[in-house]
Symmetry: C2
Subunit: 139 residues, 2 copies
């Protein structure tokens, strides 16, 4: 098969499907997603494409991946081995929607949103601070 991606590319379709499974609870919060190889077999896609799909979910803060372990769904603060050194560079909290965020999300000003803050570094020094806002998971 060549590479037909009329309309949506496959990695995006796969990301969408996985997103549904997570939000519907088919993959409960904190659970491990199937391995990349397993997902590749299920969707008949190469591992690279699966990784691309997972990267989309990661950017949207829907999953968190750990080397050698797997990818967790909705790992809001992966309460796994937190006896180890805690996650240093990323925090999460609830905030009230400012007027601009409220307009974007289409909610009332003051509505509680989830803010996830992370820090990128360049050789130690802080490069960017990234704040991702999203609506609280309903479920």
């Amino acid at each position: 098969m060549p590479t037909p991606h009329y309309g949506q590319p496959r990695y995006r379709v796969i990301a969408d499907e996985l997103k549904h499974r997570i939000e519907s609870g088919a993959i409960p919060p904190g659970a491990l997603l199937p391995t990349e190889s397993a997902l590749g077999a299920e969707f008949r896609a190469s591992r690279g494409t699966i990784r691309q799909a997972i990267a989309v979910l990661r950017d949207a803060c829907l999953v968190a991946t750990e080397h050698g372990r797997g990818t967790y769904a909705n790992a809001l603060s992966h309460e796994r081995g937190l006896d180890k050194r805690a996650a240093p560079e990323t925090r999460q909290r609830q905030v009230a929607a400012d007027p601009e965020l409220a307009a974007l999300f289409g909610v009332e000003i003051g509505t509680t949103l989830i803010e996830r803050e992370s820090v990128t570094r360049w050789n130690g020094a802080v490069g960017n601070v990234i704040r991702v806002y999203r609506l609280p998971e309903i479920r």
Copy 2:
């Protein structure tokens, strides 16, 4: 050559080098980076690895890529074909550092920072709002 990435992976080393060129002005703001193939030839890396390096820069808001055109350095608001419909999904402005940002960046509270806001969508609906903060370019 196999895949040795002792210490830092190659895509990160390449991203670092490109970052230096941009910040030093060797690649001036708004200029096009060399093509992915050209960079691959220069760094003796595959196109995939180059693309990974560029993705790092894109996440740090150091470059912006356009399909069929190329990757622009520091394209703060790529003043190219802006007669077309401007992309309203990403904005940039100056803000005063709140206490938390000030602490992270190691500056005084109230110092002006650059905030770039972008919006991700899932089938039209707003998914996340992302705000990236960084220090103003010195130069």
